[in-house]
């Protein structure tokens, strides 16, 4: 006697069984027992106790939230700062025939270029969508906070007018150092472990 296959039993369970399978089920006690066992198995699967994680991953997720917020803030500040910087450049262009270019201008421009380049590297890597260790995430969050504080100071300086000096160069160079460390935490280590 031919019995129903597992495919047919599953179809019967889904009320999609063939006419032959439905007819056979009425006549065959063994297949009825198989179908009942299938129902039981699924009920047991649904009743399995839930498994919980051994480690708490919230601190890493939270660090990701904080880091993303700091990045957004930095982008906004950078955007505002960019406008202010453009205004300063335009003013300098107008005044250029009458004023000598400060000696630190080239260093300042270079630090800003390096900072922008590191920002681009970080954006391409998209750390928000990556899985990182708790330690790396915590370190990244710390660096993000320091960069955010530095950006606030740079924004304040931009808002105060075009006056700058060697200390402004130093601030931008500090920003480059911090950005480089942040890139190292995210990109370099991830590449090292093959992610």
């Amino acid at each position: 006697m031919m019995h129903t296959t597992m495919e047919e039993l599953l179809a019967l369970r889904a009320n999609e069984g063939s006419a032959w399978a439905r007819r056979h089920l009425e006549e065959c006690a063994a297949c009825r027992a198989e179908l009942e066992a299938l129902y039981q198995r699924v009920a047991q699967l649904k009743a399995l106790p839930p498994l919980g994680p051994a480690r708490d991953r919230w601190p890493v997720v939270r660090a990701g939230v904080v880091a993303a917020r700091a990045r957004r803030r930095r982008r906004l500040v950078g955007w505002g700062g960019g406008l202010a910087a453009a205004a300063v450049v335009a003013l300098l262009m107008v005044l250029r025939p009458f004023r000598a270019e400060p000696a630190y201008a080239a260093e300042l421009a270079q630090a800003k270029r390096q900072s922008a380049s590191l920002e681009t590297t970080l954006q391409r890597y998209d750390p928000d969508s990556r899985v990182e260790s708790g330690r790396a995430a915590a370190l990244a969050a710390l660096l993000e906070d320091q960069i955010a504080a530095l950006d606030a100071e740079l924004a304040r300086r931009d808002g105060a007018g075009p006056a700058g000096g060697p200390d402004l160069v130093q601030l931008w160079q500090n920003r480059v150092d911090l950005m480089q460390q942040l890139v190292d935490v995210h990109v370099t280590r991830a590449a090292y472990v093959g992610l």
Binding site: E7, A30, E34, A37, L45, L48, P50, L51, R57, V131
Partner: protein
């Protein structure tokens, strides 16, 4: 596992503004269901924890796009399922899947101690089979939805489910050999 987690709308609204306390409350509410879903599909607890982390990073990033026209758990579960299935695919590429098929040999009855329980039997299935049986029979996804999430056909999902049940039946004590 049946989930009937009711999350207050006000909590979701706060989470959408980026309120960290509200986001943590959501994480605590769905931490176990998400991990459980991932762990039932994936062999490694570490992989399941990574899926948990990836899922909530995605939730935090995209919660503003949750329109509230369905249950929040349904939305989070879809993200978690996709993340877990991405890992299954990655493991297949690395040829680390189908462990049971290779070591026990096709669909022949498996010699397993009579005390083996459903949980252990489930562990012995390939990640693909586990994914299909769990998503279909426990989480309630249709074959169409599973096929779409896995990048496969409806027939693939149906045949994987039949295969998984045939293997579970063979491994579980007390389930006869009729048929």
């Amino acid at each position: 596992m049946t989930i009937s987690l009711a999350v207050p709308d006000v909590l979701i609204a706060r989470a959408k503004t980026g309120d960290v306390e509200a986001l943590e409350a959501l994480y605590r509410a769905f931490e176990t269901p998400v991990y459980n879903l991932a762990r039932r599909i994936l062999r490694s607890p570490e992989d399941a924890e990574d899926v948990l982390q990836e899922t909530f990073l995605e939730v935090v990033r995209s919660i503003r796009s949750f329109r509230g026209d369905g249950h929040l758990w349904g939305w989070i579960r879809r993200i978690a399922s996709s993340k877990a299935l991405m890992r299954v695919r990655r493991h297949q590429v690395r040829a680390e899947d189908e462990f049971d098929e290779e070591t026990t040999g096709g669909s022949a009855p498996v010699s397993v101690p009579a005390r083996v329980d459903l949980e252990r039997a489930l562990e012995r299935l390939s990640e693909t089979s586990r994914a299909v049986v769990w998503l279909h029979d426990v989480e309630g996804y249709t074959h169409e939805e599973i096929g779409e999430m896995m990048g496969k056909t409806v027939s693939f999902s149906k045949s994987q489910l039949a295969r998984a049940h045939a293997r579970l039946r063979g491994m579980l004590p007390g389930e006869g050999a009729a048929g």
